[in-house]
Amino acid sequence: MTGLLSVRDLRVGFGQNPKANEVVKGVSFDLGPGETLGIVGESGSGKSVSALSINRLVDFGGGRITHGSIQLTRSDGTVLDVAKADEKTLLGIRGRDVGMIFQEPMTSLNPVHTVGAQIEEAFRLSKGLTGAQAHKATLDVLGRVRIPDAQSRLGYYPHQLSGGMRQRIMIAMALAASPRVLIADEPTTALDVTVQAQIMALLAELREETGMAMIFITHDIGLVAGIADRIMVMQNGVAVEQGETDGVLDNPQHDYTRHLLRAVPHFTSGKAVRDDGRRAEQQEPIVKVDNLVVRFPVGKAWFKPKGAIHAVDGVSFDLVPGETLAIVGESGCGKSTTARALLGLNSKTRGEIVTEAGRSVRPVQMVFQDPFASLNPRLNVEALLAEPAIANGQRRDDALRERMTFLLDRVGLPQDALTRYPHQFSGGQRQRLCIARALMLNPDVVVLDEAVSALDVSVQAKVLELLVDLQQEFGLAYLFISHDMAVVERIAHRIAVMFAGQIVELGEARAVLSDPQHSYTKRLIAAVPAIERRKQRFAVDMTQVPSLVRPPGFEPSPAQWREAGDDHRVRVEDTP
């Protein structure tokens, strides 16, 4: 065997009777030295379980390998069947032969040990380095993952670092052992898109430097397009297609691969924006936000705050009926705070929010990100849907029930759903419930705060379709908050780009996506992974988001705007 890793007919089951509850049902693949394999699939496809079988971490999650072999060539040239190895041998495999980085950098580092100690531990376990040697090696590896000022970072605890930094620490920890295979399990899913681009660039560079093989697991086929040599597509525990990256992407053989490539939103730089429902000339806005400011006091010293987080600073926009305005930006840019201020869920410091009372007493309704957490598990669907109406003084009568069944039908759920409870529905169905609930009071405006972000990609596409249909039917205006440019491209008429609490660019969707003007918008759009740009390489860029904490009484200088097109405004940047 010439390969590094050869998996044959792998079957993995869970629970008391693993043979009956198989999650991976006969997967085979090979990995050569220095090669990168991308495993693509949605949740429950068995992609993570397959990867966790390679270092047998799957055992700790309750999984059992029921059949098949995992032949791993170790650094001394011997071949080991990991599927049958004992726990003692496996300790030597983990780290040294197979390194791993995980999805959640926030929770994957131990909160009570410094990052330096955690990396040094990896050196001690794999190479027996201790004391000054381990310290020096740690500094060295932090440099390799491009962490500036490494010496002082060693004493930091994980919570003192940003998500991107923590993921670098994770990578450094895996690199410490010089593994021959690195398994990256959705390593960028929890990160902002510009940080994702940095991590991807870093992984690509490190692969060149070290010559290690990589298994890259993701739900986003666009993301692996840029890094994988070969791609394996998984669905329901089976590898439905595998082959060279270009072959799979350009000439997919299996229906599911075609579905992932075509039906699922992929970013195309403004080519896929909607053509329907353009804003008419002189249309009266239903919502007008003028110079909205939201600040949160921080660091109370006795009774006087030491400063304030300028979460939203001078944001203005309007929204007309039937239109979608997307607010895009990265975590902490103030997009959700803006949305919440619109509903009065957090108080504004200054500014005007004017909503025309249209057809409802409560013209603005909201759909939240997490469909699992935003439905009370102890209420059935009828009670959940009735709640907004009851809260507004309506009676629980036949008319209300009729409205419920009407809306359930419109969001594509069966009528008998009324007596069921949230846990009996899938994520996509729950989000449909949330949408139905938001529509109960016949609102004019629906705020969708990352409403499709927690859903699987193919479910995402269907919910987006539903949202467009509902918008056309009821003339709804959407304020669509998202970090996902591919999704925004499919639903937005206009886009507002937020950065550090301010809108930096606002305009017609196609113009903003295809011809970004502000330096941040350019950076953001360049970082979005896209199948058509897969050959493109990013340079590792360490630009940090500025702190939003300001001293008391600080006022930002008023915004200067320039027109970049018919409906396209850009904030003028300070030239340093």
Binding site: L91, L109, N110, L125, S126, Y157, M173
Partner: protein, 319 residues
Amino acid sequence: MSYVVQRLLTFPLILLGVSILVFVAIRLVPGDAITAMLGTEAGLLTPVQRETLAAYFGIDQPIWAQYLRWLTGLFQGDLGISSIYGKPVLTVILERFPLTLQLSLMSMVIALSVGVPLGVLAASRNERPSDLVVRVLAMLGQSTPNFVVGILIIYVLSVFFGFVPAMGTFTPLFTDPLASIAQLIFPAITLGFAFAASVTRISRSAMLDVLSDDYVRTARSKGASPMSVIWHHALPNALIPVVTLSGVEFGYLLGGAVIVEQIFALPGLGRLVLDAITQRDYALVQGTVLFIAFNFLVVNLLVDLAYVALDPRIRIGRR
């Protein structure tokens, strides 16, 4: 540091509240020092005799005046005179406190050194026989009243080993450490039994939570040994609930352990409070309750400081 000062500044306020509460509560109970001393014969006293006695016990004035006088004394470090012992209250308390403190500390040491390892062992062998054994033991320990444990210990010691623990007067730790510890070891085991059971249960469930955390998986992916995963990566993260529980239990123990003191005939704080209440020794009740409340505040502060030491996220504010 400024945090500790801030916390200390709140102490007098809380203690003032406690003192008012106790002062009023004890006077709401029917009977007073005179009836407690004379029983039904108190009804035979002439009004003059009664007034003289009331003046002697300091209960002849309206309640607010009594309270003000007591409070003035308090600021001068004078908690009043105990009517039972005829000595200053503070002296009486300080005679009893060393025993209670030592007993509480010994019980806690026993509880932690037995409970934490057992809990960790059970969690790391979740659902296997050793876990089940530990869980049954813990359940047993929590549900057995401590007078049963205490009497059993005395019975076994005296009947099978002919050993009778020293009773009555307490040998202070600094006079004769060995004798002092020997005197308290069995009461401490009695108290530590249920305490250890609670610690076992809470450390088991905290460890189970932590063992499924992502960073534990990370440690395993690095090739860390099972021992290192449990003791180095998981346990420090599981200690906070254990500290919380220990703090509460320790605070209770410092208030005295009436039953165990009774069984082992130990002159501790618990029996002192009991006597003070049954004999309407107002000054002594007020003094001991205030003292116990103060201890509770100190223990709570120590618990919070322990959190700070255990968890860097509390130590260095989130960014």
